[in-house]
């Protein structure tokens, strides 16, 4: 008998797009929930299975690697099955196809809702309503359903219908002005999507909290995660500084928000430069006077390390620029990994700024058996990053490789919903059941 998984027996319908929603349902799938994604053969959801269904070669080549880096650098037959962000979020999930814009398609969804515990969506505000999917409608199908919605700014108020990705939310929540080089204007920022991490994890947390509540009371419910509001915690120090002191914090580069010095990213010996992504850097944080002393010894006690101006944190903070120059001149002659080990042995937090490809040669990750190999028929066998937690009695397994479009049509229609052969054929003839996007989809 196999050990039950924590969320064994919980079924989640994933009406998610992009990152924040799928990250939540990925965690639920990892914990053993059965996650099922309804997909429409006639509608491509941008930035979920890629930018467009059938990307031309130039789009892949010009795109950033994490978006355009498909297997062997070609679109292949089924580009929607192996987009890098998609495969990263769609392990341990099932996919079936249905056109929710038509009544018979919506009826299929309703039947699935009746057999499920959770419906999770993070579409642009109004999208679900446009299809006729509301909490009231879901409750008709299943009064115990838990419905999670992840709008950008919430379902009410003047911003309710504002279009946004994570990066726009971060602008509004203050992150964009709080990060980046202190001496450059904000347009030097790279667009990132950190808010999706928090919203995704808290969404998974909220689902389990709601299941806990339902186990106690029998009640399902509606959950709204306004992504902007949700992201606020990430900037606690800046928020609290304004709240307590009226201080507006600004960008501080790689320096420590808590004022400990020095902290920075310094050059090391590199096999090449940034244009080929072969530049190497080490991040070093010194948080105490004792660490400063240990750092000095570990780098061979140069005269400047014993300069009394740097003996206290206040002194190091005052002369941070000067220290950055001295440290950088030293690290530029060092190997990043060798220096990490030497500094860590002395009790100083330090590590290379690891370019992603180097993860696969990382001895610590190998020693912990972090990576997991998955074989997807459409793309082949590759090593993927491992799960977020090690749970020895209920191990996180990758029991379903990144799901291919329509891979579970038979399972969902025949086994789960028990549709008759005639109905199955009729739905298939109507284009609901497919294993690839309709040719009309670009």
């Amino acid at each position: 008998m196999t050990t039950p998984k924590p969320l064994e027996g919980i079924r989640v319908i994933d009406l998610c797009v992009v990152w924040a929603g799928p990250y939540a349902t990925m965690m639920l799938g990892d914990l053993g929930a059965e996650v099922i994604k309804p997909e429409n053969p006639f509608v491509f959801q941008p930035m979920t299975r890629g930018a467009i269904a059938r990307p031309p070669q130039i789009l892949l080549t010009n795109g950033i690697a994490w978006a355009g880096g498909l297997p062997n650098n070609v679109p292949g037959e089924r580009p929607w099955d192996y987009n890098p962000t998609f495969v990263s979020l769609y392990r341990n999930k099932k996919s079936f196809t249905v056109d929710l814009r038509r009544p018979e398609g919506l009826d299929i969804l309703k039947r699935l809702v009746a057999e499920s515990d959770v419906v999770y969506e993070n579409n642009a505000t109004g999208t679900m309503e446009g299809l006729g999917i509301t909490y009231e409608w879901l409750k008709e199908a299943n009064p115990r359903i838990i419905f999670v919605r992840v709008p950008a700014y919430g379902s009410d108020g003047p911003y309710a219908r504002a279009r946004a990705l994570g990066v726009h939310l971060e602008a509004v929540m203050g992150h964009s002005l709080l990060r980046g080089y202190a001496d450059a204007d904000p347009s030097s920022n790279t667009a990132i999507y950190s808010g999706d991490y928090l919203a995704g994890a808290q969404g998974a947390f909220a689902v389990m909290t709601a299941i806990w509540h339902r186990d106690r009371t029998g009640e399902g419910q509606l959950i709204e995660i306004a992504q902007a509001e949700n992201a606020a915690a990430m900037f606690t120090q800046a928020i609290m500084d304004y709240s307590l002191n009226g201080v507006v914090q600004g960008a501080n580069g790689n320096r420590d928000v808590h004022g400990r010095a020095p902290a920075g990213v310094y050059p090391t010996v590199s096999p090449g430069d940034a244009s080929t992504m072969d530049d190497r850097w080490i991040a070093i944080s010194i948080e105490t006077d004792a660490q400063w002393q240990a750092f000095g010894k570990a780098i061979g006690s140069p005269a400047w390390a014993n300069d009394p101006r740097f003996a206290t944190n206040a002194g190091r903070l005052e002369h941070h620029d000067e220290l950055d120059g001295l440290i950088g001149a030293y690290t530029a002659t060092q190997d990043d990994y060798e220096l990490m080990h030497r500094l860590q042995a002395a009790g100083v937090p330090a590590a290379p700024v690891l370019e992603a490809s180097r993860m696969f040669d990382e001895p610590h990750l190998r020693a912990r058996d972090f990576f997991k190999s998955q074989t997807q028929p459409a793309s082949g066998t590759y090593e993927y990053v491992g799960p977020l937690w090690k749970m020895p009695a209920t191990p996180i397994e990758y029991y379903q490789p990144p799901v291919m479009f329509g891979e579970h049509n038979d399972y969902v229609y025949r086994e789960l919903l028990k549709v008759s052969d005639e109905e199955f054929e009729a739905l298939k003839a109507g284009g609901h059941i497919a294993t690839e996007y309709d040719p009309s989809v670009p």
């Binding site: 050990t3 998984k5 941008p46 690697a65 994490w66 978006a67 062997n72 990263s88 979020l89 919430g154 009410d156 108020g157 911003y159 279009r163 990705l165 990066v167 726009h168 971060e170 602008a171 203050g174 992150h175 990060r179 347009s187 030097s188 920022n189 790279t190 950190s194 999706d196 995704g200 808290q202 389990m208 806990w212 509606l222 949700n230 915690a233 990430m234 900037f235 606690t236 120090q237 307590l244 002191n245 507006v248 501080n252 790689n254 808590h258 920075g264 990213v265 948080e287 937090p349 690891l354 370019e355 992603a356 990750l365 912990r368 590759y382 090593e383 990053v385 977020l388 020895p392 209920t394």
Partner: protein, 399 residues
């Protein structure tokens, strides 16, 4: 009722990531008993302090992380402290700790100690690199964590050093992932009677994280391509961050819908340039630059709020770049009930961000301000049946 008000968390975490995870439990009703060493959680020493006065009860960082919890001081180096811990463990549903790997074990309070008390108790260890492996004893800061395990390499300008996220955002991300793993372990315990020692590595919560890291890794596996460090300005119509009359606005990916951009710009005359609608010309850097010149002229004449309003009306993806002051004074956020207030003995009335999400039943509440150091030592240990003298001994004489 609150959803988790039948859950008791024995919380032996400190600093940021662990306490953020247990704050989420506390927010939804769990009785989180925060164990602090006699000197207190090190987060009590983290700025910002109210009025800049460094004091363990005045840290805004500690305050935000520890609302809704009860603080109990235990001296775990004394046998009485360990005995008190055992008494608390008997009533706990989940235990979480973030000591250096092996530290609790050396004090006689490792996983075996808790398993002997309750075999189905989930015991969560949070550490920098995990409980095993060559870097087990290595240290991390938010900067070093994100540099090594997060996708910092590709953030910033190509010819400059990589640059991190703001504040300690990486540690907050880890905290949110910890809360999910902890809840998973709680489900395994309550539904299936399975206790276990869960090993959460802060590094692995980023190596496997959604903020591009998992995708940059598999993209390399797929294609051999690495992700270039590049500021996202330019290269689109529009794309990236633009100056405006009173600051900046972010139009990342907005150019994917030229129809909406045109509507936002009121179908301005300059848009009629045929090069701007030719798919090939639209990829020409000179044409893009030319287009952006016109666009910046439009932006510069407007405030960030005016631009956002126009963008919203045309369904254009856009984010005005707010300062914390902009956020605090924003009427729409306030009207939605984003902010909460609570009274604190030392700080007076404090405003903090409120609910991270809205549950219609059993949801978020701000029940109490962050605890003073050891504020609940006598109360909690008394509930656990300890005598006043045992309480004094367990807390190292602080209660």
């Amino acid at each position: 009722m609150q959803a988790l008000d039948n859950v008791r968390v024995l919380d032996l975490t400190h600093h940021i990531a662990g306490p953020y995870a247990t704050r989420l439990f506390a927010d939804f009703g769990a009785d989180v008993i925060k164990i602090e060493r006699p000197g207190g959680d090190i987060a009590r020493g983290l700025p910002p302090f109210q009025g800049g006065i460094e004091n363990p009860e005045r840290s805004g960082t500690f305050f935000y992380l520890n609302c809704n919890k009860r603080s109990v001081v235990l001296d775990l180096k004394r046998p009485e402290g360990i005995e008190a811990l055992a008494a608390l463990a008997k009533t706990a549903d989940v235990v979480i700790e973030s000591f250096a790997p092996g530290k609790l074990e050396a004090l006689g309070a490792g996983y075996g100690f808790f398993r002997d008390i309750n075999p189905s108790l989930p015991f969560i260890s949070v550490s920098n690199f995990g409980q095993t492996g060559p870097y087990r004893d290595y240290l991390l800061s938010d900067l070093v964590l994100y540099a090594f395990a997060g996708e910092m390499y590709s953030m910033g300008e190509t010819d400059r050093e990589p640059v991190k996220m703001a504040g300690t955002a990486a540690l907050f991300e880890s905290g949110s992932a910890i809360a999910v793993g902890m809840m998973g372990a709680l489900f395994a315990s309550k539904r299936h009677g399975i206790g276990q020692h869960v090993d959460i590595s802060l590094a692995e919560t980023h190596f496997g994280g959604v903020d591009r890291r998992h995708a940059t890794a598999i993209a390399f596996q797929f294609s051999g391509r690495k992700t270039l460090r590049l500021a996202s300005h330019g290269g689109g119509m529009p794309q990236g961050i633009y100056p405006c009359a009173d600051g900046y606005v972010d139009f990342t990916n907005a150019g994917l819908r030229p129809d909406r951009i045109a509507a936002m710009l009121g179908n301005a005359e300059w848009l009629a340039d045929p090069r701007y609608s030719d798919p090939v010309q639209r990829m020409n850097p000179a044409v893009i630059e030319d287009w952006n010149g016109n666009f910046i002229a439009w932006c510069i004449e407007r405030t960030k709020r005016e631009i956002w309003e126009a963008a919203r009306a045309a369904k254009v993806m856009c984010g005005p770049m707010f300062t914390m002051e902009d956020m605090f004074t924003d009427e729409a956020f306030r009207a939605r009930g984003f902010w909460s207030k609570t009274e604190h003995t030392e700080l007076g009335e404090v405003t903090i961000p409120g609910r991270p999400l809205r549950m219609e039943k059993g949801g978020w509440q701000l029940r109490r301000a962050a605890p003073l150091l050891g504020q609940h030592t006598a109360e909690v240990l008394g509930e656990a049946g300890l005598s006043p003298s045992a309480i004094t001994a367990a807390s190292g004489g602080t209660a």
